[in-house]
């Protein structure tokens, strides 16, 4: 049985809109990936613990509330302390261009803004999974 790419999709923080996250989740499934959808209001600890149990290749975070600078970076930090070095971390949502360099520096591998075609996300994952 061939290995399948496993992706954890989570929404950290308090905003209650998960339409975008669900669209991405479905697109990844249709591209042959196993998507673990964890739902709303996840803490960084819950996201990282779930990613470890599910042995995922990718963590995808979605956020619309504007708290990405803290929440995304919290997840990236926790991944470092937990030595999740072979897991790709990507983020999506409403994220101002000027925040992207800082996020990347903190360990978020890629950021996808609103309106990114889902195919781009699929391609990015397929090209960049670390194992």
């Amino acid at each position: 049985m061939a290995k399948k790419i496993r992706v954890l999709i989570a929404k950290p923080g308090l905003d209650g809109h998960d339409r975008g996250a669900k669209v991405v989740a479905r697109a990844l499934r249709d591209a042959g990936m196993e998507v673990i959808y964890t739902g709303l209001h996840q803490t960084a600890e819950q996201i990282v613990a779930s990613a470890i149990q599910e042995d995922v290749d990718v963590i995808g975070l979605s956020l619309l509330s504007g708290a990405h600078m803290t929440l995304f970076i919290d997840v990236a930090k926790l991944m470092k302390t937990q030595e999740l070095t072979d897991v790709l971390l990507i983020g999506g949502g409403i994220i101002p261009q000027e925040d992207i360099p800082a996020l990347k520096k903190a360990g978020i591998n890629e950021i996808f803004g609103p309106g990114t075609p889902v195919d781009d996300i699929v391609c990015y994952i397929q090209k960049n999974v670390k194992r």
Partner: protein, 312 residues
């Protein structure tokens, strides 16, 4: 013993997760670990939870697990959702109902796609149960797919089988597939906060009363995962079923079914990969296929020929 095996035995989360991936991908690397782990299995009680999608299986698993944790039990959860036959991908959404459990070190949750297996389970499920068992879990809860087809494969893995239904679906006996009726050890009517519970229970009761050939009296339990009601009663009934099984031959019989299914499946896989890995046999298969397609040979005779060649 490999490092991975040792760590699984100590309950290391990451190693458990990694070994599950290896068995799921049928990676040969997993075999030596599985061989070593086996003598450490046999301690966990395996509970299968089946029933239609949306009946509240994941929500119930969440409530059951919280109560088991209060009782000091470690819980492993295997939550299975369908793999798309078209893309091979899957949307695994059972964790949505169990968020709070993610950070509990005494709980391990794994979401799995069916990856082509029929019957509501996934091919690697035997191995995953053994891994969780060897890692020290006291209770293993398995949530089957729940798309309504015959999900009776669960009898091959679970010691206690819970069939979940909800009120308001019409005649309860009709909505539960015949096969499921026969394998149930416990019936749960979830969403008991909704109207129609008494009727659903009565319908199930009239059917359970007909099952006079079994000496285990199948309990029917009303629960509300939403209002956290009936969960302790359910746990008491799981415990009662467990004692009943151990006091009778039912436990050994059921485990035997599991070992038999597991062993025969392994033999089947081994024989097939033996044939396909052997150059000569493989070309004989190709040749047979050719002759079958032009109606020069029938598949039965072809299988005889290949088995004869194999046994030489």
């Amino acid at each position: 013993m490999t490092d991975l095996t040792t760590k699984v035995l100590t309950g290391d989360t990451r190693s458990i997760a990694r070994l599950i991936s290896l068995v799921e991908n049928a990676d040969p690397e997993a075999i030596s670990s599985m061989k070593t782990l086996y003598s450490h299995t046999g301690n966990a009680h395996v509970v299968g939870v089946t029933g239609v999608m949306g009946s509240g299986k994941s929500s119930l698993l969440f409530e059951l697990t919280k109560t088991y944790r209060h009782l000091g039990k470690k819980v492993g959860i295997i939550a299975i959702d369908p793999t798309s036959p078209f893309s091979g991908g899957a949307l695994l959404g059972d964790r949505i109902r169990m968020t709070e459990l993610s950070t509990d070190a005494g709980v391990f949750i794994r979401s799995m796609g069916t990856r082509g297996a029929l019957g509501g389970l996934t091919n690697a499920v035997f191995d995953v149960v053994d891994i969780l068992d060897a890692s020290g879990m006291d209770i293993i809860l398995i949530e089957t797919v729940g798309v309504g087809q015959d999900e009776v494969e669960i009898v091959k893995v679970a010691d206690t089988i819970i069939v979940v239904t909800v009120p308001g679906l019409g005649d309860a006996v009709q909505t539960i597939k015949a096969g499921l009726m026969e394998i149930a050890d416990i019936f749960v009517v979830n969403k008991a906060d909704k109207p129609g519970v008494e009727q659903t229970i009565a319908e199930l009761q009239s059917m359970v009363d007909l099952a006079i050939d079994r000496d285990w009296k199948i309990p029917i339990i009303a629960t509300s995962a939403k209002e956290r009601k009936g969960v302790s009663t359910l746990i008491e009934n799981i415990a009662a079923h467990t004692s009943y099984m151990h006091e009778t031959h039912v436990f050994e019989n059921r485990r035997r079914i599991r070992y038999e299914a597991e062993l025969l499946e392994l033999i089947r896989k081994r024989v097939i990969s033996y044939v396909l890995d052997d150059e000569k046999l493989k070309s004989q298969v190709e040749c047979c296929l050719q002759r079958i397609s032009v109606r020069e040979l029938d598949p039965y005779t072809a299988a005889d020929e290949i088995l004869n060649a194999l046994l030489k």
